[in-house]
């Protein structure tokens, strides 16, 4: 079969996104039309994008697509070249799959904005964000990469602040953009260091091709500095602890389709960047790089999930889980770096694939969960879980999709989260033997922390799903909720299917990684990754662990008759009666008696008290005895220690310094004359 070349697909996708931007801006007076054309062209573009990525990844190594210039160069060093190489194609696949589902979902979702906000503008930003993100993944020149990166940050800011009537959206936007920009500053410096090392003379010295040849030729100091800058810069975007504080603030306030995009794709650009620079450009890494990345990953994972548990704002909870999952991804990447250092390319392949597979998986299930949260928000007009409940009966399809996402993100078999975490565990386990230094302890300890993370995530999603969807509605909003529009369900359904597919058929999907690992590590996929006719996932060594999610699922279905047989055998005559829940003899349960989200996470809050530093305020009103309270007011706050101990003092310090500086401009012309005078005197004395 003669498929069109990936390049053509890519060009079509870019054009379609571009068209979407322009068309929805032009159509912004007619909101229905703008909705249709804006998200319609994004849908089309997404399909093209998937085509580009799949053809790019399957057309064999070294044949990913040729480089083409998007626009002629204007100024020195700027080459607007685009090339779809395997790594880029993989990330394009992520963004395109998500874009497809999100665009379909958005048709229905943005109807909620009709008459309130300008849908055309939203669609235009949405398309622009996707365009910029696609370009970030395909740019083959660092200068161009930075341009796409900044446009991406800018459009993301606009989308975060889209509902700017809410103060929290404005503040979140500012915080996001400032941190993102600081990160970009680091990236600029990092790339400039590479550029300088490349000579900085030839026009192509910003090209990825040139950077690729640098590798081990870089001096150690420069390499380490660049590593730290990149880690910081991309880390901010990815939301690693302690650079994550913008993430739980910014992601929830955006419209939910956008939140899904932010959490699903945008933070992955940080992962893309790290993979690109660390595996593609910088040669054999020193040991401490891998150790640092692995440590950061572990800390991010654990802290991310712990903070997530403390949230009862559904979207904030999901945002914190993004931090956790970024941590898990970084565990894979960090392990891969350490293996590269000790020259275990096969293991490095395993670890890298684990990280990247989790990247894909997280994109899918996090987007799914955000879409679910969006549907809930759409139906109940609140993000506070304490006001939800009982939605499973009112929004059954949404509930099902959310449940699938919850199982997937909790890394439970047989869904996709389990598969990638399984690969990560395997990589960590294998890592123990790669070195004799004490560093090897890192691997199992990280594994243990990953286990803690997984279990806490499960706890968190029991809470998220249970409190949101199960039991009685806790507010009128929740009681009056309705199932959302079919397009929204279709969007969620698509991602649900993707979760299941990626969970059950990992071996099919992993084949796509072959050109990628060849490109980055010069190592084809280890054969053991796909044993037994391709349905069982192995690791890199013979007799190592294996897993088959498909087998587990099929076996589960085969076992289903067992309880049914028992039932038929013993209890054919039994009846089922619907009755009230046991209420200890009271007059019936009210929603107030249900367990709350805050209550649910209380044990964990107590266990990790030293970390959360919770503050509680209790006000008791009573008539005659404190034991018979009339009214009880209870508040519990948790503020992140990073915010209170690091960012706030830093911010305050900078502002205090700036205010002091303002004293220089105090309004007195005499003082100003003296400045000039002193400048002149100094110059006369020293410059001559």
């Amino acid at each position: 079969m003669n498929l069109p070349s990936p390049t053509l697909f890519l060009q079509l996708a870019l054009c379609a996104y571009g068209f979407g931007v322009v068309a929805s801006l032009l159509a912004m007076r007619w909101e229905k039309f703008a909705n249709g054309i804006g998200f319609g062209s994004a849908t089309v573009a997404a399909v093209f994008g998937i085509g580009a990525a799949l053809t790019g990844l399957t057309s064999g190594p070294g044949n990913g697509g040729e480089s083409f210039a998007l626009w002629p160069s204007l100024i020195p060093y700027l080459q607007l070249t685009v090339k779809l190489d395997p790594l880029g194609a993989f990330f394009v696949l992520i963004v395109s799959v998500l874009a497809l589902a999100l665009s379909i979902y958005s048709f229905g979702y943005v109807r909620g904005f009709y008459g309130r906000k300008n849908v055309g503008v939203l669609a235009a930003f949405y398309n622009a964000l996707l365009l910029a993100t696609t370009l970030v993944f395909t740019a083959s020149n660092a200068f161009f990469f930075l341009i796409a990166w900044e446009i991406m940050a800018l459009t993301a800011y606009c989308l975060v602040s889209f509902e700017h009537e809410k103060p929290e959206a404005r503040n979140a936007g500012v915080l996001y953009f400032i941190m993102s920009h600081v990160g970009t500053g680091c990236l600029i410096l990092g790339f400039l260091l590479l550029f300088q090392a490349a000579g900085g003379q030839a026009p192509g010295d910003y090209g990825f091709e040139t950077f690729r040849t640098l590798g081990d030729k870089l001096s150690p100091g420069r390499r380490d500095a660049a590593f730290l800058l990149f880690l910081f810069g991309f880390g901010i975007k990815a939301g690693i602890v302690p650079l994550h504080i913008w993430l739980p603030v910014a992601h929830p306030v955006a419209p939910s389709n956008i939140s899904a995009l932010l959490s699903g794709v945008l933070i992955k650009t940080g992962i893309y960047g790290l993979t690109r620079v660390l595996f593609d450009f910088m040669g054999t890494p020193p040991n401490w790089w891998g150790v640092t990345v692995l440590t950061i990953g572990t800390i991010s994972a654990v802290l991310g999930v712990l903070y997530a548990l403390m949230e009862h704002d559904l979207k904030r909870l999901l945002a914190y889980h993004s931090i956790e999952n970024i941590g898990i991804i970084l565990m894979g990447l960090g392990a891969a770096l350490m293996f590269l250092h000790t020259h275990h390319p096969v293991l490095a392949t395993l670890a890298l694939i684990a990280g990247l597979y989790h990247t894909m998986n997280h994109a899918i299930f996090k987007a799914l969960l955000f879409l679910g949260a969006g549907a809930v928000l759409h139906a109940t007009h609140t993000r506070n879980m304490e006001e939800m409940g009982g939605l499973i009966k009112r929004m059954p399809t949404t509930a099902f999709c959310f449940l699938v996402g919850a199982v997937a993100i909790s890394a439970l078999p047989p869904l996709n989260g389990f598969v990638s975490e399984w690969l990560t565990y395997q990589a960590l386990l294998q890592g123990f033997g790669t070195t004799d230094s004490l560093v090897r302890l890192m691997f199992p300890l990280s594994g243990a922390m990953l286990a803690l993370t997984g279990a806490l995530a499960a706890a968190c999603f029991v809470k998220a799903f249970g409190i949101t969807f199960l039991a009685q509605p806790r507010s009128d909003h929740a009681a009056q909720a309705h199932e959302v529009a079919p397009t929204m369900l279709a969007g969620m359904g698509l991602l649900t299917a993707a979760c299941i597919f990626l969970g059950l058929f990992p071996t099919l999907f992993l084949k796509l990684f072959n050109p990628l690992t060849v490109q980055l590590l010069g190592q084809p996929l280890p054969g053991f990754l796909s044993e037994a006719d391709g349905w069982v996932l192995g690791n890199t060594q013979e007799m190592g662990g294996t897993v088959s999610t498909l087998g587990i699922a099929l076996m589960g279905i085969c076992l289903l008759p067992v309880p049914l047989v028992l039932w038929l055998f013993f209890g054919r005559q039994t009846k089922v009666r619907i009755g009230p829940t046991w209420d200890c003899g009271l007059k019936g349960l009210t929603p107030q008696m249900e367990y709350t989200a805050t209550g649910f996470s209380k044990p964990i809050r107590m266990i990790f008290k030293a970390l959360f530093l919770p503050r509680r305020e209790v006000q008791r009103e009573y008539d005659y005895s404190p034991y018979f309270a009339k009214n009880l007011h209870f508040e519990s706050h948790i503020e992140e220690a990073f915010v209170t101990r690091l960012y706030r003092p830093l911010n305050r310090g900078i502002l205090r310094f700036s205010r002091r500086m303002r004293g220089l401009q105090a309004g007195s012309i005499q003082a100003y004359l003296i400045y000039i005078f002193i400048t002149l005197l100094l110059l006369l004395m020293f410059a001559l």
């Binding site: 009982g390 499973i392 009966k393 199982v407 890394a411 439970l412 078999p413 389990f418 399984w422 395997q426 294998q430 123990f432 033997g433 090897r440 199992p444 594994g447 243990a448 286990a451 803690l452 997984g454 279990a455 499960a458 706890a459 029991v462 809470k463 249970g466 969807f469 199960l470 039991a471 037994a532 007799m543 190592g544 662990g545 294996t546 897993v547 088959s548 087998g551 587990i552 076996m555 076992l559 067992v562 309880p563 039932w567 013993f570 209890g571 039994t574 009846k575 089922v576 619907i578 009755g579 829940t581 046991w582 349960l589 929603p591 367990y595 709350t596 649910f600 996470s601 044990p603 964990i604």
Partner: protein, 315 residues
Amino acid sequence: MMFSVLAILLQTALLLALAPLVSGCIKNWKAKLQNRRGPRVWQPYFDLAKFLRKDMVISEHASWIFRVVPYVLFISTLLAGLMVPMVSVSAPLSLFGGALAFVGLLALGRFFLALGGLDPASAFGGMGSSREMTIAAVAEPALMLAIFTVAIAAHKSTNLSQMLIAAQGPTWKLLNPAHVLAFAALFIVLLAETGRIPIDNPATHLELTMIHEAMILEYSGRYLALVEWSASVKQLVLMALLANIFFPIGIATDSSAASLGLSLGWFLAKLLALAGAVVLVETTNAKLRLFRVPDLLSAAFILATLALLSTFLFQ
């Protein structure tokens, strides 16, 4: 192919048949140690049969989740059980997953059970779910670290059968400090996972102390049967795991009837010994306050860490 289907069927039957017996033994022995007569060893079988025949009352607030939970729990526990080698070195489903899938499947069951606890809108259920998930979370690192330790000794394979083979090895490895420590850690985890004293009291229905029982408070009839059965199967497979990996004596390495029979005998003996240990612990300890449980489990984590350290410190 035929053989493996047979193996699956046999092991499933073994799991289902043996699990209530182990629970019954523990209950009975515990009573004996406390100078009570206690229920008969076979009592759990009668209980299950009774539950299956009873009508069900389902909460008006419950959704389909409530009805699905028993099945998911039951099947995931059975699947986990099929991955553990019991009488034969090769577990029927060892290709489909090793230690990690085992842990994952148990977690899947727990996840749904916790949802089932929340579904009927009862405060008890929520409380039980919350505590169950918390304790599981705190137990998980110790469990994983212990598994890592054993897996490292087994050429870094997470396949339970491989671990077993490696443990059989030329010498019995329990004398290895790494194994001793890992066993201790896993034993604590076993107590936590199966809801035994000092972490949870399986016999209590006192509202404020129960964990597992609180979650399943609303279940009745055949659903309760499935849930109870799953609990005992889970207990069985965890004990089997401990027994076989740390005491790999007499396990059949081929599939002849004689060796399988011998192996079954050994297996029963080991199980009962382990059950005895559990009973001893349960009788000699009081239940811990909820917020002391993490201390115990972090002790398990430290034991596991020491086990890990000793894999290369003492070699």
